[in-house]
């Protein structure tokens, strides 16, 4: 089914509900929907199994229009349907969609605290991003809010009084913990060794990048988006650059696109090797951490020779690439790749055959295909459960049409399968890099790029090592973007991890947390999933909703 047919199908599904449909781009369909019909529209799409809710973007249309536009992006392979709902700036209300899409709960919480739109039917509306002491009633992403004053007024951020857990035995895995490279606060209610309740409070790494991006020029934003996350910095920069080039309708030259894909594959290798070590360390297998990080130095050396820096290698500029793959570097890369391939094969053997490792990885956090699809997870965790969803193959951008990537799938859906999928993806990336090096197109490295970008809006989807990265960019003709929305892959996997943590052994929770390769600095969300009863229920789609609905207010 090509994008055209998919959009036609979506249009027919939404014919009864929408007030007007437009086609701003070949693969996008916009449908204006009144707030009252939103749930009906979403159920119509979800009923026909048309795609998953990728994210929800709020856009402040400014003081004169006195309106906020809320966009619900539903993606199916390479087609994107956006449901546009306009609500008045003060006191706008939108119905909650978390009964249809479980992840909507998080996106709506972000909408509430950033724009002040009230969402009816959502149980827990406490802060997702902002610190505990943030002054009430100030919404950072509204254009006229004085965020500096609000930040200054933020008092000490202490959770409410002690003993809020009663006599339940709560193990805090707080911002400073050997299991977490980055700050996040988890609380596991534990009975003996079994976890009966799990809550997560993130927001420790929220820096307010989306607001800062609105008053910096496009080139300055490039360096800001690279530092959203240190491990997948190239993915963020690449997604941002793809979006801006789509807005300006100036594609980068083919050689630049190929080099970008090459650096993206190198980043995938270094990110997966890093994850392999950290996940094994969480399960207590320190030797694998030492070995995989020793071999990761090979990729870091290649990246350093190619782009000059080990981490945050900023290979992209608007309209092209900074560095060239010269005849001198290519053989160095090939030699490094041969060594890496041999090591990756060894790790594949370790991950699939080492008995002591498998005793801690097999059968942990098993996810069925339907469960993964219904929870709308993303990335290798999803592919390990058998759902074939990968933006590089579904909606190829840049040079992925020229150098296609084959998808790696597994059906077991447990921890061991995720290890296997990521190591196989490493081998796949090595193969793609060799193909790129052989067929590197000639041509210039970059194109002249105007300072001012014509008004418009676009969506740029990119497959980061952790899953689909979603950028929504809106320009207003000046050299500063009107709105930059970043939705990172880890947020869609949080509900899954917490529902799987409830009922697992305490010792299995850190490897489970590591199995989705969380990148807190990417997303910073809070979810409360608390199932006191701890009874084993047969898993169906409405479980996450009932589960998500039964949170306790903190």
């Amino acid at each position: 089914m090509s994008a055209e047919e998919l959009l036609k199908k979506a249009e027919s599904l939404l014919s009864g509900v929408g007030q007007g449909t437009t086609r701003p781009e070949p693969n996008r369909l916009d449908v204006v929907v009144p707030a009252s019909d939103l749930v009906a529209a979403a159920t119509a799409l979800r009923g026909a199994d048309w795609g998953y809710l990728s994210t929800l973007t709020g856009v402040d249309l400014g003081k004169d229009a006195n309106e906020i536009e809320v966009l619900y992006h539903v993606c199916e392979r390479d087609a994107v349907t956006t449901l546009r709902v306009r609500v008045p700036r003060a006191g706008g209300t939108v119905p909650s969609l978390h009964t249809v899409h479980p992840n909507a709960m998080l996106f709506e919480r972000e909408l509430i605290e950033m724009f002040g739109v009230t969402v009816t039917g959502l149980a827990d509306t406490s802060h997702l991003f902002l610190p505990d002491g943030w002054p009430e009633g100030t919404y950072p992403l509204l254009k006229d809010t004085d965020v500096r004053a609000a930040a200054a007024k933020t008092t000490g951020s202490e959770p409410p009084e002690m003993g809020r857990h009663g006599d339940r035995f709560i193990v805090p895995v707080g911002p400073q913990h050997p299991a977490l490279k980055e700050p996040g606060h988890f609380e596991f209610a534990v009975d003996g060794e079994r976890v009966t309740g799990a809550t997560v409070r993130l927001g420790y790494v929220h820096r307010g990048i989306e607001r800062a991006a609105e008053n910096q020029t496009y080139t300055q934003n490039l360096y800001l988006t690279e530092r959203v996350c240190g491990i997948c910095s190239h993915s963020h920069a690449n997604a941002y650059v793809n979006g801006v080039e789509q807005l300006a309708k100036i594609p980068a030259p083919p050689r630049a696109q190929a080099i970008r894909q090459l650096v993206a594959c190198l980043e995938r290798i270094h990110s997966h090797l890093l994850w392999l070590g950290v996940a094994a360390y969480e399960a207590g297998f320190d030797t694998l951490l030492m070995y995989s990080w020793r071999d990761r130095e090979i990729v870091m050396d290649i990246l350093e020779q190619l782009t000059g820096n080990r981490v945050n290698y900023s290979a992209n500029i608007l309209g092209g690439v900074k560095y060239d793959v010269t005849a001198a570097i290519a053989p160095v890369i090939r030699r490094g790749l041969d060594k890496l391939e041999e090591r990756a094969k060894h790790y594949l053997h370790v991950v699939t055959a080492d008995t002591s490792f498998l005793s801690r990885a097999q059968g942990i956090g098993v996810t069925s295909k339907e469960e993964a699809a219904s929870l709308e997870m993303l990335g290798p965790t999803l592919r390990a459960a058998g759902v074939a969803r990968d933006v590089r193959i579904d909606a190829p951008y840049g040079s992925y049409k020229q150098f296609p990537v084959t998808m790696v799938l597994d059906s077991a859906g447990d921890l061991a399968a995720r290890f296997k999928v990521r190591v196989l993806e490493m081998l796949e990336s090595i193969r793609v890099i060799r193909v790129i090096l052989d067929g590197l197109p000639e041509g210039t490295l970059s194109v002249k790029f105007p300072r001012r970008i014509p008004a418009g809006e676009t969506i740029s989807r990119f497959e980061a090592p952790r899953g689909e990265l979603f950028y929504y960019l809106k320009s207003n003709g000046t050299d500063k973007p009107e709105r930059v929305k970043i939705r990172t892959p880890t947020i869609c996997n949080w509900i899954y991890v917490l529902t799987k943590a409830v009922g697992a052994q305490m010792a299995d929770v850190p490897p489970l947390l590591a199995s989705i390769d969380p990148c807190f600095s990417c997303n910073d969300r809070m979810i409360v999933v608390n199932r006191g009863g701890g009874d084993r229920r047969i898993w169906t789609r409405e479980n996450p909703q009932r589960l998500a609905g039964a949170q306790t207010r903190r």
């Binding site: 035995f169 709560i170 193990v171 805090p172 913990h177 050997p178 299991a179 534990v190 060794e193 094994a280 360390y281 969480e282 399960a283 207590g284 297998f285 320190d286 030797t287 030492m290 070995y291 020793r294 080492d354 002591s356 490792f357 005793s359 801690r360 052994q505 305490m506 010792a507 299995d508 929770v509 850190p510």
Partner: protein, 304 residues
């Protein structure tokens, strides 16, 4: 006067602390080499202990101050006393009497008890879980470990270490009772909480287990106690199972060989969950040792 010297310097206090630090350094260096790292310098463990001794000790508000201070002292004392009755480096133990094998083992368990008590003493959730896990693991490996060590004792019809060693001179009980040796070795790993049995102090789950709240002196004394326990355990197994005491150098070589086996197991295995370790002891540890005893009796019956 000789007894005082025994107690204070030679096989007792100072010599034993240095020996424990040497063994601990060997263990850390070996593990680092397995992970192809360079590993710590030779005086590293001494520097660690001295630094811990001179560091400020914080007594957490929610724990009983006296108990908080006394427990590390009791733990190290248990380990030190246990070392008196064990032939360190193949030399004659300070004192030997009938039944000193059992006394040594109980004194070593005293150390784990002290760690457990220390865990329950403060309200931090990590120490509570660490203490529960430590004691669960203690109860699960203690009995099979003792059974395994009693194997050679029964063959030599006595419970006195140097008599057992004398009777079994020459014959390597490792060959005649392989299962007993294996269970004893794995039991020693369980006692020392070396990975894969380090669930009680699992770094990524409960930070440092029962010792999370300890800083400075308390931590140093617990650390030393663990080191001495390593020395005593290695010496015991080497004496009973590997053909007794010939001369100090050869005996030291045997204990180092055992240490290499322990550290290599440490490097290649993943940490087991606490229910897996207990399961391991229930299903395999205890039964294997009992079956081996049965074989001993049948073999004794046949030859006698």
């Amino acid at each position: 006067m000789r007894a005082l010297i025994n107690l204070l310097f030679f096989p007792g206090g100072l010599f034993l602390i240095l020996l424990a630090l040497a063994y601990e350094w060997a263990d850390r260096k070996l593990l680092a080499r397995f992970e192809n790292r360079i590993g710590p310098r030779w005086f590293q463990t001494v520097a660690d202990i001295v630094k811990l001794l001179v560091k400020e000790e914080i007594t957490p508000a929610t724990s009983h101050p006296i108990l908080f201070g006394v427990l590390p002292v009791v733990a190290m004392t248990g380990a030190l006393t246990a070392a008196l009755y064990v032939p360190l480096l193949g030399m004659r133990p300070a004192l030997s009497f009938n039944g000193d094998l059992i006394v040594t083992l109980y004194l070593l368990s005293l150390l784990t008890m002290a760690v457990g008590m220390a865990g329950w003493n403060s309200t931090s959730r990590f120490t509570m879980m660490g203490a529960t896990r430590a004691l669960t693991q203690l109860f699960s490996y203690e009995a099979p470990f003792m059974l395994a060590l009693l194997g050679p004792a029964v063959v030599a019809q006595s419970w006195q270490i140097n008599q057992i060693v004398a009777n079994n001179r020459g014959v390597w009980l490792l060959l005649t009772q392989p299962f007993g040796f294996a269970v004893a070795l794995i039991g020693l790993m369980g006692k020392l909480e070396m990975p894969p049995f380090d669930a009680p102090k699992a770094k990524t789950e409960i930070v440092a287990g029962a010792l999370t709240e300890y800083s400075g002196r308390g931590l140093g004394l617990f650390h030393l106690g663990k080191g001495i326990e390593l020395v005593v355990g290695l010496t015991l197994i080497a004496a009973l199972y590997m053909g007794g005491i010939a001369n100090p150098v050869e005996f030291f070589g045997k204990t180092l060989l055992l240490l290499v086996v322990l550290t290599s197991l440490h490097a290649i295995l993943t940490r087991l969950r606490i229910d897996q370790t207990v399961g391991l002891w229930w299903r395999y540890g205890a039964l294997v040792v009992l079956l081996q005893w049965l074989a001993l009796i049948v073999w004794k019956g046949v030859t006698a």
